[in-house]
Amino acid sequence: MMKRRTFITTVLGGVAAARPLAARAQTRALPVIGFLHSAAPEGAAKNVAAFREGLRQAGYVEGQNVTIEYRWAENQYNRLPALAADLVERRVAVIVTSGATVGPLAVKQATSSIPIVFMIGADPIYAGLVESLNQRRGNVTGGDILQHAARTKASGTAARAGAGSEDRRLLANPENGNIVTEPPVMEAAARRLGLGFQLAKASRERDFEAVFAGLAEQRVGGLVISTDALFNNRIEPLVALAARHAIPTVYFLREFVSAGGLISYGASIIAMQRQGGEYAGRILKGAKPAELPVVQPTKFELVVNVETARTLGLAVPPTLLALADEVIE
């Protein structure tokens, strides 16, 4: 993992070194966006690309008329406050934070003047980021993927989609704030369907193996992967573990299903990243965060991987297939 990170840094550094001197001199005068992410750059490339696309829609192209200072917490959320303080110290024009609510909260604590754009999966009001969605004051705005709102539906889906055992699990990151909010919702959904529920925790990738081995041992009938920067960052290992242990798993992001996951239900993280880029651009142009309401997704997609279901030996009901927004064969 370290090797890969070094490689990317080297590539980025090489690109920077290849820039002509005049252009580099010019960059000093460019506005700077501080980009703070809870996860690691590898596995977040699509998200960053979406962010840049949103920025371009607002009229900013990295390296041409805007500079982006990237700060990665490398999935170690306790590093976020220090990184946030660093960006604030650098007096960047706007700080965009993505991932766990720890990030935006750390930035909000570090500054009340630098505009903050968050891109999270949690409820921003509940997390204490904003007072209201329509955002009449403060320096914080952003978007969420309404995972907190859709989780009931997803939990229900997950509960229903299971097979075999009537035991259901939720995998959550204890370092993420949603460790408090998510489990009760999941439990309630399971109870409504008369299923059992327990919480599984993982805060590091190296824990994954053990967690899945345990779940398989317990013959868990279904698993929901909660929305978390670490999990979203490590899609392929999680999908692979679910497949290896033949645990029917439900995700919030379609990217998991594309990678071989069973079912996903949720909004598009790509759209949110794009929205974040657009908001950052608008703030660079002079808009105040108070003028920019918190954006909520309107589109929730049900994606089913028939192939995975077949592998798992699950019979996918025709109605589910009919209702699915995308069916991956």
């Binding site: 969605l133 329509n134 539906k153 959904a189 309401p293 309107t298 209702l323």
Partner: protein, 785 residues
Amino acid sequence: VSESVGGGEAGAQSSPTPALRGRLLSKYVALLVGIVSLPLLASGAFGIWSSYQDHKTSLIRLQREQAQAAAARISQFVKEIEGQVGWISQLAGAAGTAEQRRFAMRLLLRQAPAITDIVSADADGHEQLRISRLDMDVIGSRVDLSREASFVQASAHKVYYGPVHFRGESEPYMTIALAGARRDAGIVIAEVNLKFIWDVVSQIKVGDKGSAYVVDADGRLIAHPDIGLVLRNSDLSPLAQVKAALHGGSSVAPEDGQIAADVEGRRVLTAHADIVPPGWLMFVELPLEEAYAPVYASLLAAALVLLAGLVLAVISSFMLARKMVTPIRALQAGAARIGAGVLDHRIDIATGDELEALGRQFNSMAMQLQQSYATLERKVDERTHQLQLANLAKSRFLAAASHDLRQPLHALGLFVAQLRANTGAVEHGNIIGRIDAAVTTMNELFGALLDISKLDAEVLKPKLAAFPIQTIFQRLETTFGEAAREKALRLRAVASSAWVCSDSILLERIMLNLVANAIRYTDKGGVVLGARRRGSMLRLELWDSGPGIPEDQLRNIFAEFYQGSGPQRSDGGGLGLGLAIVERLGGLLDHRIEVSSTLGQGSCFSVLVPLAAATQFVQPVVPIQVIEDPCKGKLVVVIDDDPMVREGMRGLLVSWGCRVVTADGDGAALAILAQRGEAPDLVISDYRLAAGKTGFAAVARLRSVFAAEIPAFLISGDTAPERLREAADSGFRLLHKPVPPNALRAMLSQFLRQAGAARQRIDTDVSVASAIRRPSADPSPVSRP
């Protein structure tokens, strides 16, 4: 005259001219510009105004139409959702399993992304099925919804549109409820996320920077291209246009587009339309500057066209005015030049109108002026030439006169020398006789010169009267009888009974000269005098048988000192002044004098005299001469500043028996007279005395001292016409030096004889006329060839 008048006019014209220059042009320009520009401006302004109004009206209409179209699209959006929900409601009443309905409803959620929740309830209002995007499906909860507005309204009206509410104070939602076709079908309630209207609204293009947005019945923003505004839960009811539309209601569609501030405070042209259902308002707003950009462009274009028109009008007016003024200025300048005396200046105007005619008239006027000026100059030249000729004639006259005077003077000198040398008595007597003759000749010459002078001075005023011509004829016969006999000539006057109207004395003088001439130049044959009637005139003719006058000399014979050639000249008989006097007298009396002649046969002089009716004519009785000498013992005062003249006069007067007192002035005379204590019987004074005094004054002084009209006459050597005129005006008789002793004696006798009468009025004309008349035997010699 023309120069002074012209100069004066030119001066009078030229001084105000600079001040007036160009005023006509500016007046014309102002007038024409006004005439052209005012309607142009008025029509241009009206055009601009009406085009502005038209454009504005069409703009507003367009925007209203756009608002209506947009409203229709929103309405359609709502209707589509309603239709989809309606399909579920139909399904709800239809036969089918709950699972099938649940599937249908879930499918609906997939197909209609704006619907977030859908609930079906039975006819009693119990919830049968609830499907949500975010929540788990709820089946058969039988929650009582019968009191919900959605259920009540939908049951009553088949369809219900709930009020817009904002979830989380951010996203606009609306509840749509529909009742199934059958009474027992129940109702379907759908929650619609109105954020999706953004898809519609953001596609409505209003100009470049305009926007279309939707507000609900309370003025809250439902849809706006800037979704942020919607999510911020904006209340637009404070906006003037929204407020007006909300209060105006749907029935009152404002005809006028409104101009108001939009949510960002920009000035916009706004129009709205109702969205029915669900009773919202569609607003279409275009920034004013963008909306009016074409208006302003067209205004600018119109203004430019107007400006161009104005400039054109001004230029053309200026040119037209110049065209009008140029000929007038040419006229003015031409008139000024002509007035300044440049008469050959011609005004050149080719406008083909009245101005050209005026220019021509000026030209013809100038031409006439020029011609009359030339005529005048020619006349002046002629007159000058005549004057020069006259001067020349005068010089010739003087030269001739002085020549003729020298001859007797020369002779006198010779005779006086002989007298000194020769003392023989016989010889003495002969010489005195010759001196006498020379003096006589000189007297005659001076007399004739005096006559000419008088005639030229026009002091003679003819005194016209009717008299028989025969009286003159008789006298002429008597006068020249002797002279004719001496030359063995026949002189005959044919008797005439005609009366003429003339001055008898002056006419006789004419005839005397003519007859004297005829006798002088005729050597054989005779001279015949006669009269013929010619209409109202009498023609007096004098025929002679003399040598005749060459035709080329006929005019010259009337010139002074003209003397015919031939032996007659040598006898010293003529002075050459006779015919000159005749001509002047003829002119004075207005009698035409004619002459015709045939060389070698003789000449005929004729005088045309107007006939007069015969009246009683008293033959003047010649008074019997008193034998007694009146001079004897009379006291005569002689005043003259020349001592020689005084001594000559004293000697002569004393030899005639007078007592004489001489003095050089009135003062000296009075002193001597005072010594004598005696008043004079007669005063003879020189006309011009020493120290600027005149004889008039001296005589007047003596008369006043002695308080009596003492008889007096004057003697003068001065023949200047002015002097003659003064003398004539004074009433004194005047003798001219040299005065022949016999003339003096006659004058003396006449005055002293009349001494009894204290006052004697002397008729000037008569006196001068009688002075002209010579003793009958001694007529003025008239020279002739």
